[in-house]
């Protein structure tokens, strides 16, 4: 039976199949997709491992193998690359730090070195570049703040200027874009709201205005889109939901309908979750689907922190330990 025909008989999370899908995906190194995705294997590892932890199955992977591979991606500068041999970038540095946090292995890092790499990417106006080549984006502001907060050394950057820059990217619809003047987008909103949350600056957000924009991302099928008049997509379950939770407006959407939409995007036969029902699954959407269900308090999934995108127990362990 093809997976398409079963997708109408949904109802529950096939957690075991997703676990198997994630463990298998790691081994499929022969395919064309794996070559094209080669440069962001660090992100992929973070998505897969976090999903496993949320499903309480992190123990099924070899911790030593993962950690030693992660460390092969670190450069002299302190930053991490998306894979062995690639260049360092802040995007992959966060994923590496998140992976080590999952395994409670942050102690193997030279924290001073990694944090100096991240802090060194702050620009005069408070913004952050992604790497030495100077692309600027509020995604990188979030990443820097998230990383340094995990290391408890936000004092290495100018937080006030970093916040001012993020606030300068706020739009008249209450959302945020990647640079000043850029259109609001749910992924970008997550980054900006997350950075403001971690630094205790959510008072810069117009919660009612942004909350209305975000809750109107829910379309008739129950799924969420990332911008007005766009198609729904499982990955926005994470970006929209986490933002709504951080500003305490998540009750403005219909959670039951969203749960159903995410479950409808599962491949019931082979595991994995796709962007929309009956599309091809991938690890990215599998993670965002499970993380979204966690935010919707779906039974059997650990709680995830809406700002750090790591399990709540991991974050509480880090933050509340003096």
């Amino acid at each position: 039976m093809s997976s398409t025909s079963t997708s109408s008989q949904m109802g529950q999370l096939v957690a075991d199949k997703h676990v198997r899908y994630i463990l298998m995906a790691e081994k499929k190194k022969e395919s064309f997709e794996s070559v094209v995705m080669d440069h962001l294997r660090m992100n992929g590892a973070y998505w897969g491992l976090t999903t496993l932890d949320l499903l309480e199955k992190l123990g099924t992977v070899s911790e030593d193998e993962v950690v030693s591979w992660v460390m092969t991606c670190q450069h002299e500068s302190g930053g991490f690359a998306g894979n062995t041999g690639h260049d360092p970038h802040i995007l992959y540095t966060l994923s590496a730090v998140q992976i080590l946090a999952l395994f409670d292995k942050l102690n193997i890092l030279d924290v001073g070195k990694v944090s100096s790499y991240v802090a060194g990417l702050q620009n005069e106006d408070g913004s952050f570049s992604g790497d030495i080549w100077g692309e600027i984006d509020t995604r990188f502001s979030y990443i820097a703040i998230c990383c340094l907060s995990i290391f408890k050394c936000l004092d290495k950057i100018n937080v006030e200027k970093a916040v001012d820059y993020i606030v300068s990217c706020k739009n008249l619809d209450g959302g945020f874009g990647c640079t000043p003047g850029a259109e609001s987008h749910a992924g970008q909103i997550f980054c900006c709201v997350g950075a403001l949350a971690i630094t205790g600056n959510l008072h810069h957000v117009d919660k009612d205005l942004l909350g209305w924009w975000l809750c109107e991302r829910q379309v008739k099928s129950g799924g969420l889109n990332g911008r007005p008049e766009k198609l729904p997509d499982v990955c926005y379950s994470w970006w929209v939901l986490s933002s709504l939770i951080m500003i305490d407006r998540v009750h403005w959407i219909d959670k039951a309908k969203l749960v159903k939409f995410i479950l409808d995007c599962q491949d019931m036969d082979n595991g994995g979750i796709s962007d929309r029902p009956d599309d091809a699954v991938d690890i990215f959407h599998t993670y965002f689907g499970v993380a979204g269900l966690s935010l919707l308090e779906y039974p059997g999934i650990k709680a995830i922190d809406p700002a750090y995108a790591l399990p709540v127990d991991v974050i509480n362990r880090i933050i509340f330990t003096k």
């Binding site: 398409t4 064309f32 690639h86 008072h203 109107e216 007005p228 997509d233 951080m246 009956d278 509340f320």
Partner: protein
């Protein structure tokens, strides 16, 4: 990863995919070798071109090309033609990468990097963009790149505004164009550019956006633009004081902690253990700069020369719409007089500035009388009841009228065009009042009109608004709670719209010197609002509602008792705003949902180490680190409160372990869940 159809697993496809991977894999390994060995020959560069044609997302290959360009440029610096040809080559590679993947961050950035070198002609860029934007008019990379090019070429905002208009007239359902229009227009309006006066331009913009909303009422493209226009119509830039406590002309009774010897008086008396009372200023928007130099106080009360004004907001914010200072009235020296006049003058010297940078420029003055009573008895630690000992307030009483403040109209506001624009919109949207967006917009328009109208209009409008939200809850059930929250706010506007209607909810509590008690219980409120009109309230009964947070209550600085039992509070972090209430002694949060949910929606709205606030470890923190991590929200909220009486029964979290933890965290607690604690 997006939009690929799911297919059943076929072994032959796996083989085909592996075969297809052979060439890019070998390209990639050759490329890596070149990159690591810093080889920038023609062949090596050509190889990276091929790799990027297959995979424009291979960011390391873009980095390599930048290094290669720099290497080549370093050898031929004196020849401008050669420089140009090297850079043009890059533009060609980017263009073909973008054809392959329009959303490649690496490709777009490479193009910016090349153009920033300043040797390429920028003239072609807008033409290229026009082509791309016709293919995908919502692509945000293209729009961002457009803003970059516009800045480089100094193209005027007016020309760009015209471009958005063209895009919109081709297809009104282009949110990206509406967005860019709002950015350009707000800049032009803010600097009052020629032909961009708000009173002329905003009515014109309403007409433009009507086409979008009325053509297809389900299309969201115009919704947010219309809401922004409405905001521009009603909100004035300059901040305004909307209420205060004490209010102008009022007479307040003050005493120290304890009971009065004269129990025959029916007047409420405000008791402050600290011997000082809060002076509260409530502005219509966040302001900074409230200080003893911007607010002048003349009174015979001693020791108030250098008052400290504090924003009622998060620790690291220096702006707030609520500001408070504490005036001393129980000085150590014996007082001969009992009545003191206090005169407050705000904004005579500059310094109060809104968070958007506009000066408070409507100086305001108010006067009140403070009557200081002697206390004879020591304060008793008796339990406060929410059922017995309440008297109804006489609605006609003068005392009530002097307590309740009415909002002050902004006399400086140019009302005429605003009223006309609103009236026209209300007319129009009546025609659309069968649809969701029609009803919602109408409710918002009526609220806006009520804001700039007199009391008579207000009452009628709030009535209509409540009805509209009732309709919306039924019409658009997925967003039920959004309308429910707005409904609660409108209901509270209605309740507080006149002294007469408010008095129905007011009582006095005899056992606490006739404290003013507001009972808003059983109203199915999901949200708190209109607090600026309730600053005089000392006891607040919000039991049997649907509240999940106490946001807003921080302004009610006189509150000493709050009843939140039978609501939907999910965690103690939802009570964060209560930390600002220095008088709070009695709190009932029994029968809520605390401990029931794994997701805490106020986790980051509460000051705690999670939101980067400083944390000094106390005895409890040192002795019970595990419980502090487990009950962190209770720990960080309760240790800032000075509670004597607390009710937490009927929550999932309640139990022996939690009770003994709370008793440690709140050392002054006397009553817990109705039981007197034996310490």
């Amino acid at each position: 990863m997006h939009g690929r159809p799911r297919k059943a697993y076929k072994p032959e496809e796996e083989a085909a995919s592996a075969a297809k991977a052979v060439k890019p894999r070998s390209l990639q390994s050759q490329f890596m070798s070149n990159h690591h060995n810093k080889i920038y020959t023609k062949e090596a560069i050509e190889l990276s071109t091929k790799l990027l044609e297959i995979n424009p997302e291979a960011y390391t290959a873009w980095n390599y090309r930048k290094l290669a360009v720099e290497d080549r440029l370093s050898r031929i610096e004196s020849d401008p033609d050669l420089v140009k040809s090297i850079l043009d080559e890059e533009l060609v590679v980017v263009e073909s990468a973008l054809r392959q993947n329009f959303k490649s961050y690496g490709a777009w950035h490479h193009r910016k990097w090349v153009l920033s070198k300043g040797n390429s002609s920028i003239g072609n860029e807008l033409r290229l963009l026009d082509k791309f934007q016709r293919l995908d008019s919502r692509n945000f990379h293209a729009w961002n790149y457009r803003r970059f090019v516009v800045e480089l070429t100094n193209r005027s905002e007016q020309d760009e505004l015209q471009y958005t208009e063209n895009m919109i007239s081709t297809d009104f359902s282009n949110y990206s164009a509406w967005h860019n229009r709002s950015v350009l227009l707000s800049s032009l309006l803010a600097r009052r550019a020629d032909g961009f006066m708000p009173n002329e331009k905003i009515p014109e913009e309403y007409k433009l956006v009507h086409d979008a909303i009325f053509t297809d009422e389900d299309d969201q493209s115009g919704w947010f633009y219309h809401l922004w226009l409405l905001d521009q119509t009603v909100n004035v830039e300059t901040p305004l004081l909307i209420s205060s406590w004490p209010s102008h002309g009022s007479r307040i009774n003050l005493s120290g902690a304890g009971c009065l010897n004269d129990s025959s008086s029916k007047l409420p008396t405000f008791c402050f253990e600290s011997g000082s009372f809060p002076l509260i200023l409530y502005f219509d928007q966040d302001v900074g700069g409230v200080s003893s130099s911007t607010v002048k106080i003349d009174s015979e009360l001693k020791g108030n020369e250098d008052l400290v004004w504090e924003p009622v907001s998060k620790k690291n914010s220096q702006v707030s719409c609520v500001w408070v200072a504490r005036l001393k009235y129980m000085s150590s020296e014996p007082s001969f007089r009992k009545e003191y006049k206090v005169n407050v003058r705000i904004g005579n010297s500059p310094g109060i500035v809104s968070s958007r940078g506009f000066n408070f420029n409507a100086p305001y003055e108010f006067v009140f009388t403070a009557h200081v009573h002697d206390t004879v008895e020591e304060s008793q630690e008796s339990i406060v009841s929410w059922t017995d000992g309440f008297d109804i307030w006489d609605a006609q009483s003068k005392d009530l009228n002097s307590l309740v403040t009415l909002d002050q109209l902004n006399t400086q506001m140019d009302l005429k065009w605003r009223q006309e624009a609103l009236a026209e919109e209300i007319d129009l949207f009546h025609a659309l009042s069968d649809s969701k967006i029609g009803k919602l917009t109408l409710a918002r328009l009526l609220k806006a009109e009520a804001m700039i109208s007199g009391d008579a209009v207000k009452g009628v409008h709030y009535e209509k608004i409540v009805d509209l939200y009732n309709d919306l809850m039924a019409l658009d059930s997925p967003h039920y709670q959004y309308y429910k929250d707005e409904h609660s706010v409108a209901l509270l506007h209605k309740v507080t719209s006149s002294t007469e209607s408010l008095s129905r909810y007011l009582f006095q509590y005899k056992d606490m010197n006739n404290a003013v008690c507001l009972r808003l219980n059983n109203l199915s409120l999901s949200r708190i609002g209109s607090v600026e009109k309730l600053l005089f309230v000392q006891m607040l009964d919000l039991s049997h509602n649907e509240l999940h947070s106490t946001e807003g209550l921080e302004a009610m600085q006189l509150l000493s008792c709050i009843n939140l039992s039978h609501n939907r509070i999910r965690s103690f972090s939802a009570l964060d705003s209560l930390r600002h209430l220095k008088q709070l002694r009695v709190l009932d949060v029994s029968h809520n949902h605390i401990g029931k949910h794994s997701v805490d929606t106020t986790r980051y709205l509460c000051s705690s180490p999670l939101s980067n606030s400083e944390w000094t470890q106390d005895e409890v923190g040192r002795q019970m680190p595990t419980l502090v991590t487990k009950y962190w929200d209770a720990y960080f909220v309760f240790r800032d409160l000075n509670l004597k009486q607390l009710d937490i029964a009927g929550n999932v979290i309640a139990g022996d372990e939690f009770s003994s933890f709370v008793i440690q965290v709140v050392p002054k607690l006397v009553w817990l869940d109705g039981q007197k604690l034996r310490r």
